[in-house]
């Protein structure tokens, strides 16, 4: 008798506990709803639309893989993609070349380090659009800073329009992005540097390892995950670059600085070829997801350690 009551009570308790656990679903429901409506459904729609001829107005029609076949022949898209990769490579190298020395500079707590760190980081909290607008003024040939200053100092014979030809325009963008992003990468690299045990470095010093040998044998291997994270963030961000090329260069000079996202933007929201834009988006999406998978692999926990 008592046994039966106890079982029943336990069962009731379990049901009550289960019901209480179900309440959790209510807590996460708003988040799941938002992600479903504004992310999962649009994602499915992108795939669906990429198989259609889909103008802004009027009926859309199923065209199978025609959009993808068209992409293969779209040399302007491939040029944009090529430029995007070129930009990504150069800007990532430039960011690391500036951010790594800065991270080493601010790694150890010394007088005024916090102040320097804050100063280096300030541009990182300014938005890409604000930074682009700011630099579009600094780079302006008549009212800006760089060409008039170079002219006044006698470095150039006349005011040079930095944005008129590819090379100076491209490197101006690189300078602007490094200025804006280096502080961010620096902080990430700093966390990696600080996680390296001090005694390991000291032991290496006692063993007679020079600074370069220590950097190669200790710092770099132990920073693998941090380096990978900083690298992936920089690469993914650069592949999706849009603001600075739209605001400062408008894709010019002569459409040479159209990035992948810029081309998709033009096809979808200037030419209103929504289906074709969706197919281009799918290509971009596959590239970024592949990159994320590489990231997960690079960021895996070191074997034997956890």
């Amino acid at each position: 008798m008592t046994a039966i009551t106890a079982t029943a009570a336990r069962a009731r308790l379990r049901t009550a506990t289960n019901l209480r656990q179900w309440v959790g679903l209510l807590y996460v429901l708003p988040a799941v709803a938002l992600v479903t409506v504004f992310f999962v459904i649009p994602l499915g729609m992108t795939a669906w639309m990429s198989l259609h001829n889909w103008p802004l107005m009027g009926e859309h029609s199923f065209v199978g893989l025609d959009n993808y076949v068209a992409i293969l022949r779209d040399t302007r898209f491939w040029n944009a993609l090529k430029f995007t990769f070129y930009y990504t490579m150069i800007v990532t190298i430039a960011i690391f070349a500036v951010a790594f020395p800065l991270a080493i500079f601010i790694e150890k707590p010394r007088p005024l380090t916090n102040l320097y760190r804050t100063a280096f980081f300030m541009p990182a909290v300014v938005g890409f659009a604000s930074a682009s607008l700011l630099w579009s003024w600094l780079l302006n040939v008549d009212s800006g800073l760089f060409s008039p200053a170079a002219y006044d100092l006698g470095l150039t014979e006349k005011k040079v329009n930095l944005l008129a030809t590819f090379q100076p325009a491209f490197w101006s963008i690189i300078a602007m992005v490094v200025w804006k992003v280096a502080g961010f990468t620096m902080i990430i690299l700093m966390t990696g540097l600080q996680s390296i045990p001090q005694d390991l470095q000291e032991a290496a010093v006692i063993d007679g390892a020079g600074p370069f040998a220590r950097f190669r044998a200790i710092t770099l291997p132990l920073m693998r995950r941090t380096l990978a994270l900083a690298l992936i963030l920089s690469v993914a961000g650069s592949i999706l670059a849009f603001d600075q090329f739209y605001i400062i260069l408008r894709g010019g000079p002569r459409n040479q600085t159209l990035t992948a996202v810029y081309w998709i933007f033009n096809q979808s929201f200037v030419s209103f070829k929504l289906g074709y834009g969706a197919a281009l988006s799918m290509v971009l999406l596959v590239i970024l997801v592949a990159l994320s998978l590489v990231q997960l692999w690079l960021l895996r926990k070191p074997e034997g350690l956890d």
Binding site: A31, L34, P148, F184, I188
Partner: protein
């Protein structure tokens, strides 16, 4: 003798370090300072190259005043930006605190599936799904509304902020909850009265990131807001800078950029440790 030499070397090292630090700081801060100083020139002077950056023909706030004369005026865009950013902060905090608590403290069917689903959206660039988002907003009657833009921004914040909040709740010992439950607290009281004060730093962090994200976002606002009265600051300023309202008034551009930058800089300086905390959480995961 040896001591004196090591002292000299120390001084030399310190001198080299601080000169490097000061030069680098100047390089990073110069564009910001240059812009802010230039905005106080009279409009006539602002058209000239900013050499020197400070006003030489008298202090003036003309550049800020003229901003309001373009299109619907900068004040409208500033209001839009403030509304969108504040709503994004409030909604994303509300939704993420609830979800973080749910994911941390309850075991319901599909819990892990939903969690991975939300986190995995970070792998997919929102730039690639903007067209369907536009169509979904149209279907919901939210097209060209600031509310629609807020919904999109909140969704973009969720992977980061839910991850942050779940970790924050995970770090709270269960004994605290059990004690509160003994005292008869129900779920909601528990969350608001007991848990919220303990995860407060996490809330500040996600609020800060939500604000900066919404305030600075450009592409989605450019695509989704087609009516000038709905422009946010970055879209409005880009229209002005592209010459949409006639000859480009660089003085007004500088003033607009200053209006866009200053809130971010102030918030960052005030809440720096929460910002770095968020970065660390992202970096260490």
């Amino acid at each position: 003798m040896a001591e004196a030499m090591s002292k000299n070397r120390k001084a030399a090292f310190s001198l080299a370090r601080h000169s490097t630090g000061i030069i680098a700081s100047v390089l990073f801060l110069a564009p910001i300072v240059w812009t802010v100083l230039s905005t106080f020139k009279p409009a006539q002077e602002a058209r000239q190259p900013p050499l020197p950056p400070w006003p030489t023909t008298g202090f003036s706030i003309e550049n800020y005043e003229t901003l309001n004369s373009f299109g619907d005026g900068l004040w409208v865009s500033a209001q839009n930006s403030i509304y969108v950013s504040v709503m994004t902060v409030l909604l994303s905090v509300l939704v993420s605190v609830l979800a973080g608590y749910g994911f941390s403290r309850f075991r319901f069917p599909f819990r892990d599936f939903f969690f991975v689903l939300i986190l995995s959206t970070i792998m997919i660039p929102f730039q690639s799904i903007l067209t369907p988002i536009f169509l979904v907003l149209t279907r919901l009657g939210l097209h060209n509304t600031l509310t629609g833009l807020v919904c999109v921004y909140v969704t973009l914040q969720l992977p980061f902020s839910i991850f942050m909040m779940r970790n924050a709740f995970d770090a709270v010992p269960r004994e605290i909850e059990e004690a509160a439950r003994m005292d008869g607290a129900n779920n909601v009281t528990m969350l608001v009265k007991v848990m919220l004060p303990l995860v407060w730093p996490g809330v500040v962090t996600i609020a800060l990131f939500a604000f900066l994200g919404a305030w600075n976002e450009f592409l989605a606002a450019l695509v989704l807001m087609t009516d000038q009265s709905k422009f946010t600051l970055p879209v409005m300023m880009t229209a002005l800078q592209s010459g949409r309202f006639g000859a480009i008034d660089w003085g007004a551009v500088q003033a607009g950029v200053t209006v866009m930058m200053v809130p971010c800089l102030i918030l960052f300086l005030a809440l720096q440790r929460f910002y770095i905390r968020g970065l660390m959480a992202g970096a260490v995961k």
